[in-house]
Symmetry: C2
Subunit: 258 residues, 2 copies
């Protein structure tokens, strides 16, 4: 008997399939297939995914008068009355051993459609609970990788760059995945994507983009051997949710000096 094939979910959050982001998602899908993964896709914009969490999306409300997202998410999950689009995404997440998310950095963060995928799909009471999160998260044992593109050149995203430190910019998104239990691999970033042709000439830009694609494929081929980002866990925190004295802040987020 052979082991069941592993499954990967490739999420793309870009309005244009023929964009460089779309190309990187294709590279991810092809590389993962070549590695023996069964690959599912969620091309969020092309699917028409609705990212706006709100009461009208819940058919059977726990409280029809006053909408509270966590209350309604738990209620709907427990009664199996979540909307069909959210159920489908949750099913994909559960099937997937590996989650890959491709997006452009817009306004120092993810596009709205991806933020809303987190808001609507990562449901309270289903994907996480107050006791099942961080290193006790329900997705423990699964791996995830965020891949981003930026318009600005790499130095502008350095620790002293005018666009802000990419390590800190990526933290909220990496932390969102770590929160539900994923082992999050160090993010992949392709810089200067929008402006590459203008800055470097078309040939140089093309060569650069091919280099980015090859680098992403290589990162994916090593995904099982890559050391995940380190995040703190329950044993590191006191009852107030602060690091215990002497415990190192592992995340890339903590300032060295408060």
């Amino acid at each position: 008997m052979t082991a069941a094939a592993k499954t990967a979910l490739v999420v793309l959050a870009h309005p244009e399939l023929r964009s460089f982001n779309g190309g990187l998602a294709e590279v991810a899908e092809a590389t993962l297939r070549a590695m023996g993964y069964a690959v599912e896709r969620s091309d969020l914009v092309q699917m028409g995914f609705d990212p706006v969490e709100r009461g009208a999306l819940y058919e059977h409300r726990a409280d029809p008068e006053r909408f509270d997202s966590q209350t309604e998410q738990r209620h709907a999950f427990e009664r199996d009355s979540l909307s069909a689009d959210v159920k489908a995404e949750i099913d994909k997440l559960r099937r997937a051993d590996f989650l890959f998310v491709q997006f452009p950095v817009w306004w120092f963060s993810v596009p709205a459609v991806l933020k809303g995928w987190f808001d609507r799909v990562f449901v309270y009471g289903g994907i996480y609970t107050s006791t099942e999160r961080y290193d006790r998260g329900r997705f423990k044992g699964k791996r995830a990788l965020l891949a981003a593109t930026t318009g600005g050149p790499k130095p502008t995203f350095g620790h002293n760059g005018r666009n802000g430190d990419i390590e800190l910019l990526m933290w909220p998104m990496n932390m969102t995945l770590a929160y539900i239990g994923y082992a999050v691999l160090p993010h992949f970033v392709a810089y200067e994507v929008g402006g590459a042709i203008a800055y470097s000439g078309a040939d140089a830009a093309r060569a650069r983009r091919e280099g980015d694609k090859a680098a992403l494929a290589e990162r994916l081929r090593r995904l099982a051997d890559t050391e995940p980002l380190r995040f703190n866990g329950w044993s590191d925190w006191d009852e107030q949710g602060r690091l215990k004295p002497g415990v190192e802040g592992h995340s890339h987020f903590m300032r060295a000096k408060p």
Copy 2:
């Protein structure tokens, strides 16, 4: 002749008007009116604001084959063919001397509807250009204030808290406003909003929420006298977009040690 009344725009990004976020937006509106401001509102979820930037929203495309957001934003702005909802928001932003934005922290960031308001309304070629941004931004001379609520208690958002440092979490949103030229006031945060009743008992929670509302009103009454957050500007950066040697990184974002 009296001076023209100042105008404020109050943006709310919460699906429930009767939520505490909705209550804080009401406090902001009432306080600003009492200060003599003419107040406009953008209740993003209630307006049905569509936050997903994509080709279908551009009637006359510069490139009908391949959608690039910045290309189409500039093209549509220059030809006055932006969609009506975006035009209306831009008009409100231009009229407003003061911008107030109220939102709950969801997944370490803003709800998708607010992220998409940045993605779609802050158009390239109209709200900013490559030369008109940061301290040369088109909105220079205007002030803005972000007000957030969190579910988690305050210590979990400290520099060593398990939810991450709120000063760093707010940076991408504050920077988005600073990028287009706003003087951004230190953000207002009301903690432990969702869970307050469960944690503290209903009476204590109610008193706390009233305290938050009073504190926000006081912050708004002092808005003209409040020192804005300090962000670096063009004269601080070298040609690569890195801080020049010896220049202090003003933003709250830079890590003390890289």
